[in-house]
Amino acid sequence: MRVEQVASLEGHSDPVWCCAWSSDGNTLATCGTDKSIRLWTEQDHEWVCGTILSDGHSRTIRRVSWSPCGNMLASCSFDGTVCVWTKKDGEFECSVTLEGHENEVKSAEFSPSGRYLATCSRDKTVWIWEQGGTDDFECVSVQSCHTQDVKCVRWHPNEDILASASYDNSINFYKDEGDDWACDFTATGHDSTVWSIAFDREGDKLVSGSDDQTLRMWKRYHAGNQAGISPSWKCISTIQGYHTRPVYDVSWCHLTGLIASGCGDNKLRIFAPDPEQQVDCHTADAPNFIQAASLDAHRQDVNCVKWNPTRAGILASAGDDEVVKLWKVFDYEIPI
């Protein structure tokens, strides 16, 4: 495997917390401590920032998320609010501000169907909002299953299933049970804060990155599975011995199956299925992922990593060093 830096996007004046690709893979949204959202597109082989959205939040913007249609962008902030930005006449404007969280909102994610928006906060709750009209979101559920700060929410790629990761070291899974949503499983195993989680393409596995310097892989056991295991998410492998500081973010590429991690040791790492392991890693109960690349990506913490959803091997990373970088991975079929 070979990894090359293809661009360095400079413009943020403070640490960059998050980067997010639009579903067509053409626009990268970034945000951070400078309270602004920047939208980057490629023009004549150059990545340029064409839009800066800066009047939505009064404190750090922690994360941004695109709606699947690409016409909406949700940003969440330490000011306790979530802004939904809607594209009108080619320009994004803040169409609605969602209030309700008691304090810092850590993550906001549109569901793949576009119907729901999930948010989570230091107030230990996870909220699910449903899109009503164009500029209307209604709170359909408030989940208080975590006992601490909730760091990250992510949706299952094909079903209305939500996962959340927390400072209480656990990962919760929620689904709609008719009148309300309910947490139907709690996955435990990490020894410290779970900072980030990511589903694989099928949604049968989940990878989590933790303050305990490991990645864990979880497999979904459906009701009535052949192994006779009750419906659950079980840890099937732990990737340890690589990260020397907390893992702040993970991204699972739905095109290549590669996993990228961002770490407090300033490194960006890429993990690939072990070619020595003679099993199909999509069905294996204990797939072995090995480190295929490790790069000194940033001068400080790597806060966010995101695989491009349409261009195989393109990866974005964001760091405390105020820089966003784009990488291209070559020869990913042959990890080593």
């Binding site: 008691e102 107030d123 209604e138 559920s141 408030v142 208080s144 009148d179």
Partner: protein
């Protein structure tokens, strides 16, 4: 256990602080310094152990009131509650003050909870609770339902006044749920407070009645009267402790102590009392507050605010009778509405909104000016007060099965007399003999926003 009892609205107001007052309380504490005189040195002999005599500093007591007035943790209020409003406290009062006349008022929801869990009738559950309490030494056991008449009537009056004179303060929000009130005061303040009803909850009307009327009727000095309520939720303890419900005249709280079904059950367990073995003797009812009346209002298990305001407002504003209130379920079963229309014009819109998620939507709509309801019955618990956080927990069945039976038993009790406050001579009598021109003082209350403390040190990544 107590924490589990608080409504989610209360818990979310300050989830971050799982502290007890002793640990991290930010309330400034004043220690009175002792006057310093001249120092003296005492020379002891060699065999003296070196002992330093330090003046004993009195341990600081943080009262529940301090907690309520503070924007800090709500969870620390919990540990204060445990010491100040508990069955232990009740037992202490019972054992220490033999001359005290102890009155217990039972909420109908709590009664229904015992009935459902122990498979007895609603009626019988009340009598059994009375047997137990009387054995403990309680003098009188009453039902809070009759007090609700005054809450309902005053709520209607307040609503009609706003509807006619000040529609900018619509929707009017019911304020019988202390979890909701506390959440609004701490989190939304002036943006939402003007919409809250200023009428006392049935618990506090009951308190007002017991301390100002019952006492004088029985010729018992206020300081000899101790009033306990049995309520379906822990939040009611916060309500009883509010400054506004301290009566300057009687120099006591209208409700001295709030206990809940789970606590009562625990006390029975401790004393080896089996609920189903308790006697369920009917007594000859003395007065409207007697358990024998099984007094009930129509409508929801939270007090029927929505139904009563809707039907009586339609009558008084538009001169029509609504035979029954058909609340339509909206987004979920905890958000329902009823409308009064003429032609294609909606003249009155009333909603019942239970649970934190629905409260959120109401609050946001009011803030955006897009809430088109006239009156909303709001309760912090999903399913309302029958599902209060301190109701009895099931042994074997699921919580939902137990709740379904609580609802069923409560409904049954309503059938025997789903009463209307408007056509009750006993209500009129009390308005005349007790309340007279003092409605404002006896039946209403005030709210105030609690300023948030903002500290840069509270940031957590």
């Amino acid at each position: 256990m107590a924490a589990a009892g608080f409504s989610s609205a209360l818990k979310i107001s300050d989830l971050n602080d799982f502290i007890t007052p002793s640990q991290e309380c930010i309330k400034p504490v004043t220690v009175e310094k002792q006057k310093k005189g001249l120092g003296s040195i005492r020379i002891g002999d060699d065999t003296d152990d070196l002992t330093l005599e330090t003046p004993k500093i009195q341990r600081v007591q943080i009262t529940l009131n301090d907690c309520l007035a503070c924007s800090g943790c709500i969870t620390s209020a919990e540990s204060v509650l445990i010491t100040q409003q508990s069955t232990d406290e009740l037992l202490r009062i019972l054992s220490e003050s033999a001359d005290r006349h102890i009155v217990v008022s039972i909420a109908p929801q709590a009664r229904a909870s015992f009935a459902a869990k122990y498979n007895v009738s609603y009626r019988s559950a009340g009598y059994r609770l009375r047997s137990f309490l009387k054995k403990l030494g309680v003098k009188e056991v009453l039902d809070t339902s009759f007090a609700r008449n005054f809450t309902l009537i005053e709520t209607k009056r307040e609503f009609l006044k706003r509807y006619k004179e000040d529609r900018s303060r619509l929707p009017m929000l019911s304020s019988a749920c202390p979890g909701f009130v506390c959440y609004i005061e701490k989190t939304h303040g002036e943006a939402i407070l003007p919409f809250l009803s200023h009428v006392r909850s049935p618990q506090q009307v009951m308190g007002s009645f017991v301390k100002t009327f019952l006492g004088s009727k029985l010729s018992i000095a206020p300081d000899k009267l101790y009033h306990v309520t049995v309520m379906p939720c822990f939040d009611k303890k916060l309500e009883a402790s509010r400054d506004d419900f301290f009566n300057e005249v009687t120099q006591s709280k209208d409700v001295d102590c709030v206990i809940t079904p789970v606590e009562l059950e625990e006390l029975m367990l401790k004393q080896n009392v089996v609920f189903t073995d308790l006697e369920d003797t009917e007594e000859s009812p003395s007065g409207q507050f007697a358990l024998e009346h099984c007094y009930q209002h129509k409508g929801s298990g939270s007090g029927g605010f929505g139904e009563y305001v809707f039907t009586s407002a339609v009558r008084e504003l538009f001169g029509e009778e609504v035979p029954f209130c058909d609340f339509k379920t909206l987004r979920n079963k905890d958000f329902t509405e009823v409308m009064f229309t003429r032609g294609d014009q909606v003249l009155l819109r009333v909603a019942i909104c239970n649970g934190f998620r629905n409260i959120q939507n109401i609050v946001q709509r009011i803030k955006r000016g897009t809430c088109n309801y006239d009156f909303i019955e709001v309760m912090a618990c999903p399913s309302g007060c029958l599902n209060g956080g301190a109701q009895l927990r099931p042994n074997e069945e699921s919580p939902k099965e137990l709740l379904d039976r609580v609802v069923e038993l409560f409904k049954e009790s309503q059938q025997s007399g789903g009463r209307s406050p408007d056509s009750d001579s006993a209500v009129d009598e009390l308005y005349r003999d007790w309340i007279a021109d003092r409605a404002e003082r006896l039946l209403h209350t005030k709210y105030k926003a609690v300023a948030k403390s903002t500290s840069g040190f509270t940031v957590k990544w």
